[in-house]
C-alpha cells in the first residue's frame, strides 16, 4: 500500500468512527437518561431501540425543508455545516491508538501527527461556535439571536480558562503534538501513580472539564439552546436535516472533546502499569490500543450524559461569573504554580 492509500483509509476510518459515535450517542443519551429517570426510553425501533437514530435520520431527511421568509438565506443554510464540520475535522489530530503493523509496514494510528495539533484543536473548537451564532442570527427570531449571543459570550469566557488549563499541560510535557503527549504519559511517577495528566494536574483537569462542558453546550451550561427559556435557542427556526446536522454536530463535538480529554489527561491509549506492546502481537497491539482508547473515551461520553441528567442549569450571569471570577483566577494560579514547579525540577 502506498502512503496516500493508507491515509485515505485512516481518514475514512476516522469519519466512520466519529459518525458512529455520534449516532450511538443519541441512542445512549436517550436510553441512559430514561434509565436514570425510572423509565425505559425508545425500545421499539430495532432490537433495544438501537435503530432509533436511523429512524430519526430518515424522518428528518424526508421532512419538508423550511427556510423562514425573513431569514438570511445563505447564512441560514451555512450555519449547520459550519457547526458540524469543525468538530469532525478536529478528529484528524487525535491519536486513537499507538501503531499497527500491516504487511510489514508500521502505521501510526493518527490521521496526521501535526506538531501543533494541540493548537489546531483549540482553533477548530472556536470556529464551531460560528455555526451557532450565524444560525441564530440568520433565523431572524429573537429567541434564536438570544441563543446565538449566549453562545458567543459563553465561548469567549470559557476559551480562556480552557486555554490556561491546557497551557499547564504544555508546560508539563514541553510539546504541542498530541501523540507525543500521550507517549510521555506512559509509565509511573512517585512509584505508584500512573504518569497521567490528571494526577499531575488535578486542578487543571477540573478546569478543563468544566470548560469542555461549556464548549459542548451541555447541561449545566446549555444556555444557547436552553429548552425552557429560549424554546430551543439558536436552532429554534431550523427543521428537517438542518436541525439533524446541528444535533449531530453536538454529539460529534462531544466525541472530540472526550477524545482530547483522554489524550491530555488519561494517557491516551496506554494502560497504567502494563505495557501491552510487550506481550501482544503487532496487529493485536494496534487493535488493543485502539480499544483502550475507545473505552476511556466512552467513559467520558457517558459522563457527559450522566451529568446532564443530574444537575440544573446555570443562569447567564452566573455562568459568566463562574468563568471569569472562579475558573480564570484558578487557572492562572495553577499555571503559575506549575511553571514554578517545572522550573524548579528541571
Amino acid at each position: 500500500m502506498v502512503d496516500w492509500q493508507i491515509d485515505l483509509i485512516k481518514v475514512i476510518f476516522i469519519w466512520v468512527w466519529a459518525l458512529l459515535i455520534a449516532v450511538v450517542m443519541t441512542w445512549v443519551e436517550r436510553r441512559a437518561s430514561a434509565m436514570m429517570q425510572d423509565r425505559l426510553g425508545p425500545n421499539r425501533a430495532g432490537p433495544f431501540g438501537l435503530l432509533q437514530p436511523l429512524a430519526d435520520g430518515i424522518k428528518l431527511f424526508t421532512k419538508e425543508d423550511i427556510i423562514p421568509e425573513k431569514a438570511r438565506k445563505i447564512l441560514f443554510v451555512l450555519g449547520p455545516p459550519l457547526f458540524a464540520l469543525p468538530a469532525f475535522s478536529a478528529y484528524a489530530v487525535v491519536p486513537f491508538g499507538d501503531k499497527i503493523v500491516l504487511g510489514g509496514k508500521e502505521i501510526i494510528l493518527q490521521v496526521s501527527d501535526v506538531n501543533i495539533g494541540f493548537l489546531y484543536v483549540l482553533a477548530l473548537g472556536a470556529i464551531g461556535v460560528y455555526g451557532m451564532v450565524i444560525g441564530g442570527w440568520a433565523s431572524n427570531s429573537k429567541y434564536s439571536i438570544l441563543g446565538g449571543l449566549r453562545a458567543t459570550a459563553q465561548l469567549i469566557s470559557y476559551e480562556v480558562p480552557m486555554g490556561l488549563a491546557l497551557l499547564t499541560i504544555v508546560l508539563l510535557y514541553g510539546t504541542f503534538s498530541l501523540r507525543e503527549m500521550v507517549l510521555l504519559q506512559q509509565g509511573t511517577f512517585l512509584g505508584f501513580l500512573p504518569n497521567w495528566g490528571i494526577f499531575k494536574q488535578p486542578l487543571g483537569f477540573i478546569i478543563f472539564l468544566v470548560a469542555a462542558y461549556a464548549e459542548a453546550n451541555r447541561v449545566p451550561f446549555d444556555l444557547p439552546e436552553c429548552e425552557s427559556e429560549l424554546v430551543t435557542g439558536y436552532h429554534t427556526e431550523y427543521g428537517s436535516m438542518r436541525l439533524g446536522l446541528y444535533l449531530f454536530g453536538e454529539y460529534v463535538n462531544l466525541g472530540t472533546l472526550a477524545a482530547i480529554t483522554v489524550c491530555l489527561f488519561f494517557g491516551g491509549w496506554s494502560l497504567p502499569y502494563v505495557d501491552m506492546s510487550k506481550f501482544l502481537g503487532p496487529v493485536s497491539y494496534g487493535i488493543a490500543s485502539f480499544m483502550v482508547f475507545f473505552l476511556k473515551q466512552a467513559f467520558f461520553l457517558f459522563l457527559f450524559v450522566w451529568v446532564r441528567w443530574t444537575v440544573p442549569r446555570f443562569r447567564y450571569d452566573q455562568l459568566m461569573g463562574l468563568g471569569w471570577k472562579a475558573l480564570i483566577p484558578l487557572g492562572l494560579v495553577n499555571l503559575f504554580v506549575t511553571a514554578l514547579l517545572v522550573q524548579l525540577t528541571i
Binding site: 434509565m35 423509565r39 443530574t310 444537575v311
Partner: protein, 229 residues
C-alpha cells in the same frame, strides 16, 4: 420599581464548592441507573417497576373507573333502560339523546320495562365522563364501563348509538369487567324537625313538578330530535 428584601446568601463550604453536591447527585442517579438496567433485563413486558409498557403490559384499572358508557341488561338478558331521559337531563354537556318507545306485544323478553329506548345516542366527544348520568339513572341501566381505548379517525364513529353501547356491555361482560354492585351509601337521618319540613317541602314541590316536567321533556325529545352537534 419593586421593593425587594435583601437576601444574604449563606453557603456552607460544601455548597460553595459545586462539586461535592454534584457528586452526591451523580451517585443518586447512578443508583437509579443501575437498578433500572438490572430491572430491564427481567422477563416479561413489565420490566422497570415504575414503567408500564402500554400495549403489552396494562395497568390495573379500577373496577369503578368511569370509561366508555354501556347499556346494561339484567340477568334475563332484558334491556333495563326505560328511555326516561333522566340521564340526558342530568348531563352537564348535553351529549345524550334518548328516544322513548313503547314496548310492543311479544317483546317482553327483550325489554324489562314497559317502555324502552328506541334510540340512544351519546356523543363521546362531548362527554366529560363525570358520572352524573349513571347517578341519575333510576334503573341502573346506563353505566360508565371500563373501556378507555376510544380514539377514532373521524368524529362520526365517536357518536355511540344503542348497538355500540350494548356491544360495550357484552364486551365488558365477556372480560368480566362489569362494575360491582353499588353499595348503599349510609345516609345520616335528618334529626331536626324544621329541616325535615324543608326537605318535605322540597320533595313535595318536586313531586308536583316532576310529572309535568317529564312529559315536557319527552315531548321536547320527540320533537327536537337531532344529533348533539
Amino acid at each position: 420599581m419593586p421593593r425587594r428584601p435583601v437576601v444574604k446568601k449563606e453557603y456552607t463550604l460544601g455548597e460553595r464548592v459545586y462539586l461535592v453536591e454534584i457528586t452526591k447527585g451523580l451517585g443518586l442517579t447512578w443508583k437509579h441507573f443501575v437498578f433500572n438496567i438490572k430491572a430491564s433485563f427481567r422477563k416479561g413486558p413489565h420490566t422497570v417497576p415504575t414503567c408500564w409498557q402500554y400495549p403489552e403490559d396494562r395497568r390495573e384499572i379500577a373496577p369503578i373507573f368511569r370509561g366508555a358508557h354501556m347499556l346494561m341488561l339484567n340477568d334475563k338478558g332484558q334491556e333495563l333502560c326505560v328511555g326516561c331521559g333522566m340521564c340526558a337531563r342530568a348531563c352537564p354537556a348535553k351529549c345524550i339523546t334518548v328516544k322513548r318507545g313503547k314496548r310492543a306485544e311479544g317483546e317482553e323478553d327483550k325489554y324489562a320495562g314497559k317502555t324502552y329506548c328506541a334510540s340512544f345516542e351519546i356523543d363521546m366527544l362531548r362527554c366529560i365522563f363525570c358520572g352524573n348520568c349513571e347517578n341519575a339513572c333510576p334503573k341502573g341501566a346506563l353505566v360508565l364501563g371500563p373501556g378507555y381505548e376510544l380514539a377514532e379517525y373521524d368524529m362520526e364513529s365517536c357518536i355511540y348509538n344503542k348497538d355500540k353501547l350494548l356491544a360495550n356491555y357484552h364486551e365488558a361482560k365477556a372480560e368480566g369487567k362489569l362494575k360491582p354492585p353499588k353499595k348503599p351509601v349510609p345516609v345520616e337521618a335528618p334529626p331536626a324537625p324544621p329541616k325535615k319540613a324543608a326537605a318535605k317541602k322540597a320533595a313535595g314541590e318536586k313531586g308536583k313538578a316532576a310529572p309535568k316536567k317529564e312529559a315536557k321533556q319527552a315531548k321536547k325529545d320527540e320533537k327536537g330530535k337531532k344529533p348533539a352537534k
